[in-house]
Amino acid sequence: MILYDFEHERPGSLQDVAARLAELGPTAGILAGGTDLLPNMRLKIRTPATLVSLGAIAAQPPGTDTDGWLRIDALTRLSEIENSDTVRAACPMFARSAHVVGSNQIRQAGTLGGNLCQEIRCLYLNQEHDFQFVAPCYKRGGDCCYPYPKNEKDFCASVFMSDIAPALIALGSDIELVGANASRRMAVEDFYTGVGMTPTVLRADELVGAVMVPPPPPNSGWGYHKSTIRGGLEFAMVVVAARVALGEDGETCADARIVIGAVSEGPSRARGAESALVGAAPTPEAIAAAASAAVAECRFLPHHNFSVEYLKQNAEVYLRRILSEAFGRAKTGPGKGGQDQ
């Protein structure tokens, strides 16, 4: 039960939502599926005075823009994404990443926009705060950090756990932000700040309108893995996502995008590992070296009772595995072999 009073509005269009957000300022909260926001309101992690609901706005079905990019409305439910023939054919990794979120109930309610804008997670934060960890931490507007008492003020070392963001970044996707007066488009990668206090660049008067995924380069393949303890209904221990492409010779790596998620304040791209792979043959040794380089260059925080040491070991093994899968798929042809949900 949410134990405080708040207002609730249901504007009829994205423009109206943006306009209301501009008027209300930071006291407003955007309500999509509510699977992240409402629990957080119950725990008083967020206490918006007005909920501006997207419930009256219908999501546009997945479609292809004139530039050939796949466009997915931010209001699309995750269950639609995982089951959409269009998405599964064009970018199976995206469908896969939607499929591994939470449980079926969560995916029936949760939306893409909500997933990408979900609150960071921290065991000290995801609490009731009635009698333990009562003093608000930096994230809740207070003046302390429980796991890192020595951190400088307003430094929140929590974890951003979207399963979908790493996949979208590996796919080179863009995100569209709708404002009251203007919209802007940027790479999903640039949408994330890597800062726990403000994990995205979204402004208080903006909302996410859509995500655009480019057509895959020729001879490309993907690999994705979400590590968990129980395999479902669980946030990730580690997420790894990769998209690679082979050159015309079918032997050398022409492009690689490697992303690690759920282990720090935002998804991180392993650019060093990527460039080491490009131009080389994806031998098991090269892949192993890339996996280990990726782990070395990305930031890991201990989280949810997992040590950094183990998180790194786990990420490295699965990076190796998904890179091999990705190159395997690249060899069998673009986007092929991807529907193995």
């Binding site: 039960m1 134990l3 405080y4 725990l43 065991l123 000290y124 995801n126 609490q127 009731e128 009635d130 009698f131 333990q132 960890f133 009562v134 590590s227 303890i229 129980r230 395999g231 479902g232 209904l233 669980e234 946030f235 949810h304 009772n305 997992f306 040590s307 040491e309 183990y310 070991q313 786990n314 093994v317 699965y318």
Partner: protein, 781 residues
């Protein structure tokens, strides 16, 4: 068992349709007009003196009807154990100091949840913080800060000892001296919780000098006795009504402060008061299981036969005595029951720490000790070059053996279980193969492990016995009055089957009135592993009593001796002349007409260990413990990813001697439930704490297995004993002991797959991987 129609059959659950259709009434479903919301103020500190409590601002808040603290109580203490040695030690609200995070300080009743929450926030408490202790070894140290006084009968110089159990026989030193091999190992277990889906809910209504209570429980009669006591009311003024319980696993026995608070607030406001614990409260302020440290020294001869064993258990017992002093007694029992140990020394310490008070949790210490003993058994076997089955066979008890406490194991099927389990899993062919094989492809490794266990079937603890009444209706159908509570285990079904058998009634002819302290006879409750045995036999006696009365009247009416009569389809039929018959309806009418109005009511009572005055001594283990011991052997097949350390249970086999299985379908349900719980114990669940605070206070971060994690679970029973109508059922425990051997079997299977020996639970990927890396280093260096 040839003539049985109901007992021994997998009959449909009596409570099934109501539960599946959502009609079953749980405490939260009971609605009373004008109900107030109760809420509890809890301590933010693990250890602190209370200097001042000021409730005036909360009381002044509009909508607040009542605020209570310890000053509004009579100061009557209660405890999980209440004996002369271990008298009650807990007050319902903190007095002068708090000893764990979440301890109850005050409670409010208000017109709604929002006002109640605000009111709790307005209560001012001033604390002086004291140093807090979370590790038992630190807490025991002479001179450590005192959480609670050390038990006066413990004369060692330790602090914070809640209680000690010690016993010995033979001469361990001599035994170790004579042993061919002596091993000492240490095993640790972690903090887990019950994971009942229904949160704690209590609705209390004081009306016309009577307290009516609906509460999540495991036994309404225990609740009544404790609640009446702390409220200083006669039992007749407190009525605990029947509601279904949505899971307990040990976490809803004993009195909880929210039950007292709802009751007291109702008495003071004359309105119904409901308190519902939030999931976060349950994880951070309620009672969990008991993490034990087991130090185990074992001496064996050349054949692995036990010569001497010394065991020391240290229980991280939380801030009150709770069930901490019981678990250190039980661990002795779980050690001595399955194997013969000629020379033995046992010490168990229950040590106060600033964690929440502990509760029993399914298995109550058995998984922790069996994990230690069965792991070490495999280590010994390997050192001696004996296989895991033979070494167990060499030590397992035979039928009819006397136990050191003068109990007898009767028809113990332990060796039968071992033989069958080994055979069904082809254990000796599979075991050791992975480690022997050179250059296996891929990263997945299979391993097999075995473990065994024994569990008691009911002991003596209040209310010690169960009564059942069978009221025959004029049409020959029956109403059964029983205090038994169906917490999901199937009590209502089993009782109906027994009554149906004894009276030749259909299941549909039987309706039950259950677990209402005013209208049903007293019952031991669903928590001491004895309900099918104790209440089941009381039901058999009650139905038998009704049957005898039916037969007596029928014999008179039909002019034939009782021995010539049999029952069938609600008819009494003469065996010699089947045309001579009377319906139950006719017999009952005749009874009313000729027996001063007796409509035929059968009564039955049962108690385990009839001739024992009381339960055994928790401190010395003297006295009888149980009259039925269940035995089990479990085999686990696990798969380990040697690159990531991730492991999972693929398949479990449970072979058990559960005595006479009244309902094999329900037995299977218990087996599967326990396998699932044990694999959660092994690989997933942990209450993560920091300085006494719980960090993972929700189902996402406390990972219980989902249906997708469930392993294939097979089971088989051995020696299901003969049964004839009118004879006591020798049913044995099957509802909690089976979480034990399988835990050890999983650890042994991880070893079999990888060579990594686990000394602590849970078996996390990080632990397994680091074990693998150490093995690699050893090989390399």
């Amino acid at each position: 068992m040839s003539n049985l129609s109901f007992v021994g059959k997998s009959r449909k659950r009596k409570d099934g349709p109501d539960k599946v259709t959502g009609k079953a009434v749980y405490s939260q479903d009971v609605k009373l007009p004008g109900t107030l919301t109760g809420r509890i103020l809890r301590s933010p500190h693990a250890h602190a003196r209370i200097l001042r409590i000021d409730t005036s601002r909360a009381k002044a808040l509009p909508g607040v009807k009542c605020v209570i603290t310890v000053d509004d109580t009579k100061g009557i203490k209660h405890g999980f154990v209440e004996t002369p040695r271990y008298p009650p030690d807990q007050e319902v609200f903190a007095r002068d100091k708090v000893v764990h995070i979440g301890q109850e300080i005050a409670a409010v009743a208000a017109i709604n949840d929002m006002v109640a929450a605000e009111a709790v926030g307005l209560i001012e408490v001033e604390y002086e913080i004291l140093p807090a202790l979370f590790r038992p070894l630190a807490s025991m140290k002479p001179g450590a800060v005192e959480i609670q006084p050390t038990h006066p009968k413990v004369d060692e110089p330790y602090t914070n000892i809640a209680g000690k159990t010690e016993t010995e026989w033979g001469d361990v030193e001599q035994g170790f001296a004579e042993a061919h091999l002596v091993r000492t190992d240490r095993f640790e277990s972690h903090l887990r919780t019950h994971g009942y889906l229904e949160p704690h809910v209590t609705l209390a209504h004081w009306e016309n000098d009577k307290l009516n209570v609906w509460t999540s429980s495991m036994g309404t009669f225990v609740k009544r006795s404790k609640l009446a006591k702390v409220l200083d009311l006669p039992f007749s003024s407190v009525r605990i009504h029947k509601t279904y319980t949505g899971g307990t696993f040990g976490g809803k026995i004993d009195l909880y402060t929210h039950e007292y608070a709802a009751s007291r607030l109702s008495m003071l406001t004359n309105r119904p008061v409901r308190i519902v614990a939030s999931r976060e409260e349950i994880f951070s302020a309620y009672r969990h299981g008991q993490p034990l440290t087991v130090e185990l020294k074992t001496g064996v001869d050349r054949n692995g036969v036990l010569v001497a064993q010394q065991i020391k258990i240290i229980n991280n017992a939380g801030a009150h005595r709770g069930s901490g002093v019981v678990v250190i007694f039980l661990c002795w029992g779980f050690t001595m029951a399955p194997y013969r140990i000629p020379n033995f020394k046992y010490e168990g310490y229950s040590v106060y720490t600033n964690y929440t008070t502990r509760a029993p949790q399914r298995g109550h210490g058995c998984p922790q000790v069996r994990f230690a003993i069965e792991s070490q058994m495999d280590m010994i076997a390997e050192e001696l070059g004996i296989d895991p089955v033979t070494i167990r066979m060499n030590n397992a008890r035979d039928p009819e053996e006397d136990l050191p406490n003068s109990d007898n194991v009767h028809q113990a099927g332990l060796k039968d279980c071992l033989r069958l389990a080994a055979e069904k899993t082809d254990f000796l062919r599979n075991y050791g193969q992975t480690r022997k094989a050179a250059d296996l492809a891929g990263s997945k490794r299979r391993g097999w492990g075995i473990g065994l266990s024994s569990y008691f079937t009911g002991s003596l603890i209040y209310p010690n016995g169960s009564g059942v009444m069978v009221k025959m209706n004029d049409d020959g159908s029956a109403v059964v009055l029983t205090g038994a509570l169906d917490v999901g285990q199937g009590a209502e079904t089993v009782i109906s089957q027994i009554v149906a058998e004894e009276l030749s009634l259909e299941m549909e002819d039987i309706k039950l009135v259950t677990s209402d302290t005013d209208t049903t006879p007293q019952d031991i409750g669903a928590w001491i592993s004895g309900m099918t045995y104790v209440t089941g036999n009381a039901s058999r006696e009650a139905a038998g009593n009704a049957r005898e009365k039916l037969l007596e009247v029928a014999a008179e009416q039909m002019n034939t001796p009782k021995s010539d009569l049999r029952l069938q389809d609600k008819m009494v039929i003469s065996i010699s002349n089947p045309d001579n018959r009377l319906s139950y309806r006719q017999v009952i009418a005749a009874s009313v007409a000729t027996h001063r109005g007796d409509t035929i009511i059968g009564e039955g009572f049962w108690r385990t260990m009839r001739d024992e005055p009381m339960h055994p001594s928790l401190a010395t283990t003297k006295g009888r413990w149980s009259e039925n011991y269940a035995f089990s052997v479990q085999v686990a097949e696990v798969e380990v990813d040697i690159e990531t350390g991730e492991a999972r249970l693929i398949k479990a086999l449970t072979v058990h001697d559960c005595g006479f299985p009244v309902n094999p379908g329900l037995v299977k349900g218990q087996v599967d439930g326990q396998v699932s719980m044990a694999l959660g114990h092994a690989f997933m669940e942990e209450v993560v704490t920091r300085n006494g605070s719980t960090l993972n206070t929700n189902w996402l971060d406390y990972r219980m297995p989902t249906i997708h994690n469930m392993a294939i679970s097979e089971d088989a029973d051995v020696i299901t004993e003969q049964y004839k109508v009118g004879q006591p059922y020798r049913t044995k425990e099957v509802g909690e002991g089976l979480v034990s051997a399988i835990l050890a079997a999983m650890a042994n299977a991880v070893y079999d797959a990888t060579g990594v020996r686990l000394h602590s639970t849970p078996f996390t990927p990080a632990k397994i991987l680091s074990g693998l890396q150490k093995l690699e280093q050893k090989k390399a260096g």
